[in-house]
Symmetry: C2
Subunit: 546 residues, 2 copies
């Protein structure tokens, strides 16, 4: 036993936001914690989402003893349907998380039976070499847990997404006692949520949102429309509470949100009276003052319900004067333009729009700087590993740990792929494994790589110009004129004129060329077009020999 | 006289951030105030920048009596070289603003003589029917002014970009006396900067930045690199002050910043001792503790100095452990991903990075909610027109005006193109004129429109597939095989396989078709590719008849 080491392997989510996935490896036993998806950045053109790189686990398929999920948000469960295509292992999670995973699998067409274990927060489960303690944490979805993983090398605490909320929506605070119990046993390492490590102070309680809702519901004279994430189950409860208090019926629009509400209600995580929820057709017939509608689209997605409302293209509902729209969610970095454009559109159509910048209608589910420091003092870890965040968040979290008294050489600021090894109570950075971005685009998983992305980027910047020439198979001389077409290059009329003028230099290049004809034409055309427009469209030359 | 009305015409910057331009029209006299550029949003693929629509002024070329600039930032002067290609009229601005305009014109190759008038803040200039009062305001560039425009229809106050800073860098506070003087004369309408209308409270003084710099310079053990906008002249002064106090030499890198510093120094707007500034080669030879470098790239532009430093591709300078990098500027909305990626890169290369989220190394130059309310109380306008901002900012600013006691029907929340008419002391919304986005891409101005943008968007999403077929000129039957190529569609190997399989359905479509062959092939190919990949690449078919 003494010779073996515990290896912690961050596959995704360390040094980036989203697609969280971490492995624990001890001898022949591997545990997977979470498997989420990441939303694409702007430069990832046309990509639907990004999943963790399964390269490492593919090689160690036989050793995987279990898959644990800490809570039901997309950045922690969103790639589960890709993962179970690769490996067979039992899944462990709390009741609501399992419910949301099942919804996800069903929506993606998986009906195959997989071993699933529902665990309760507060319980301890034996999985191979590990004893896993699931402890309750507050987050913006009910039934979230952190993990105390007892390994032969020592006790590792992984916080999961959390904040210290003393007045959470479900009145279930973070399990402080368990954290102290861990510290009494001795925590070898703490892996801590650092998403909000750059936010000074404490993250406010969800209760703040209740107060903001109260004010908005009090003042609203017409309909109220609340947009949020489909998986922000606690927020749905809060809207329901406000609707009840203000004698409004509630309608939910959007498949994913309807499905999530159904499962959360069924499992007892939403406390909503039966007659509160009406369908949208019914809601639209009620007096405006008696309606609260909840929907998705808070990230300004153009095809979402809110996106369509902001442009007046939603089939059933049209914004009218007197409507109040609440965007009750954060803006995921990169979505600012889309969200603000949606807000501006809603204002233009006559709505009063309330969003985080002007009222606290959303608070984060992640702990701020003081939360992080408290977590450290409660658990008293020997080593500290900041997790879940961009590199700058990890650096800032490390600074906080240092302030609480953890020596710098016991803090590991590492990113995806850096294996961390523990042996004889000592931490060591081991080898690095590859953890590339795996793009999902349509039905394709991983078939779009850097080269295709560069092509798309180039196409998007200056468009494309196509040249086709026919050569006489025998003489090799040009048959007819070059055919030239373009897309996204310049306005149609101007393009026609420029491309017409390009005929001559191309014909000359063909005559001159005595090597690679395609390259000669491309080069000539590139020079000609840059001189004429200062643009560099993608150029494709096709040649037929006839 | 009585029959004429004053018309205020927002051409750019009302309901959007950037490309500010406003007209005043009375009878045969038109005044232009500002002519800025706007940075493209992500969806504006490949665009360099956007300028105001000159359509209206082109028609009234003969009536333009003057062009006034309020200050030297790009969103107020950035399109001047495009404007003076269209019209001939004298330019009026303060000394530093004129200096920066001249730099801009020279950089864009304009040496033609244009009538330019340097005006002093506090002075009053007669221009045709107007008496224009230039009054000093605090902003993040020296020599900024607001305008009190006395027109035959009444006095209009246009704030320009401003905040009420009691401890500005140049010790020159906003001209409160002039604002009160206006209110005593009677202000018909106030056009007020509303950029920060969603920010509660007062915007902090620039002095806050001095304190933050003091702390960072105190703690820095190695080199200090400060990134900011080239036009943030006040910030350059603040860095110089900190460098002097901490016995560091200062080097400036980046053509535009170097040029701006030169002109600001020459005109007396930068107070920098001669021996403080050294060239970069010299700076790099000094001990690390004796160097402060200032550069551009605070928006994470990949080709900027800071962008290259973050990836280790800057020719002269390489980040090393112990460096402190300060990003002393706001993030322009939409640039979040690029800026954070730069920050993460700098951290990875060993720098300690200080940015607005973790320390007040930047404050806004625009007044917040309390500034806006004070401006209203100082000027006591009859009518209120919120300006410079997205629609949501204008709405919020209107709310503030209402709170100060201005009746709702005297507030005009309008966007670009909405002509506002004043006659007999009454405001009326007149007609709307077209003010489209004019894209500048390479040397092309306005040749890229919505159609080309849609093409680029489509190309960027799923790439392109090209099909060329040769038909026998006489029989109309297919000659040889269809040639198929793709870019940015899917990984090369997979694409080859899919495109090979596509040969058959294309050949069949050609045989079947008895109408538009191009359309038949496109339709077949689209269906085939969607089924195979769930993607919708752009499809282009070219046909030669041989």
């Amino acid at each position: 036993m003494k010779n073996k080491s515990l290896r912690i392997i961050p596959i995704g989510g360390l040094g980036e936001i989203g697609r969280n996935m971490m492995l624990y490896e001890y001898g022949n036993d591997i545990l997977i914690v979470d498997c989420g998806l990441m939303f694409p950045q702007h430069e990832m053109l046309g990509i639907d989402y990004i999943i963790p790189d399964f390269d490492y686990i593919r090689k160690k398929r036989e050793k995987i003893r279990g898959i644990i999920f800490t809570h039901g948000h997309e950045d922690h469960i969103g790639a589960v349907h890709h993962l179970i295509q690769e490996i067979q292992a039992p899944i462990y999670a709390t009741s609501l998380t399992i419910g949301l995973i099942k919804v996800k699998l069903r929506r993606n067409g998986y009906n195959r039976k997989i071993p699933i274990h529902v665990v309760k927060a507060g319980s301890r489960i034996n999985i191979a070499s590990y004893k896993v303690n699931f402890f309750h944490v507050c987050h913006s979805i009910p039934d979230s847990v952190g993990l105390g993983i007892e390994t032969p090398a020592g006790l590792i605490v992984q916080s999961g997404d959390y904040k210290f909320d003393h007045t959470p929506v479900d009145n279930w605070p973070t399990d402080y006692a368990k954290l102290v119990e861990f510290s009494q046993k001795g925590v070898l390492a703490l892996i801590a949520d650092s998403t909000n490590a750059t936010n000074a102070g404490w993250t406010p309680s969800e209760h703040v949102v209740d107060q903001a809702f109260e004010q908005v519901f009090n003042q609203a004279k017409g309909r109220i429309i609340v947009a949020s994430f489909a998986s922000l189950i606690s927020r749905i409860q809060q809207v329901a509470n406000a609707a009840i208090a203000h004698h409004r019926k509630m309608a939910i629009v959007g498949t994913s949100m309807v499905e999530n509400v159904k499962i959360a209600q069924k499992l007892g995580y939403l406390d909503i009276p039966k007659d509160l929820i009406v369908n949208i057709d019914h809601a639209l017939k009620l007096p405006d003052k008696e309606v609260a509608i909840m929907c998705t689209g808070s990230q300004g997605e153009p095809t979402s319900i809110l996106g369509r409302l902001s442009r007046g293209t939603q089939r059933q509902i049209d914004i009218k004067n007197g409507d109040t729209v609440i965007l009750s969610s954060k803006i995921i970095p990169g979505n600012e333009e889309a969200v603000y454009s949606t807000i501006n559109g809603l204002f233009r159509r006559g709505a009063n729009v309330i969003y985080q910048e002007i009222a606290p209608v959303h608070v984060s589910g992640h702990g701020g700087q003081e939360d992080i420091k408290l977590l450290i003092h409660l658990t008293k870890p020997k080593y500290f590993i900041p997790a879940y965040g961009e590199f700058r968040h990890l650096k800032q979290s490390a600074l906080l740990a240092k302030q609480t008294g953890i020596p710098e050489n016991r803090i590991a600021v590492v990113e995806d792929g850096q294996v961390i090894s523990f042996k004889d109570g000592k931490m060591r950075l081991a080898e690095k494994i590859s953890t590339s971005l795996v793009f999902v685009d349509g039905v394709g998983v991983g078939d779009i790589g850097p080269e295709e992305m560069r092509d798309r980027e180039s196409l998007s910047r200056d468009g494309i110009v196509l040249i086709h020439i026919n050569l006489n198979r025998k003489t090799g001389s040009l048959h007819g004129k070059p055919e030239i077409a373009s897309r996204g290059f310049t306005a149609t009329q101007e393009a026609e004129e420029i491309l017409r003028q390009a005929q001559k230099p191309i014909v000359e290049a063909i005559k001159r060329s005595n090597g690679n004809l395609e390259r000669a034409i491309t080069k000539t055309m590139r020079g000609f077009l840059y001189k004429a427009t200062h643009r560099r469209p993608t150029i494709i030359v096709t040649i037929s020999r006839i």
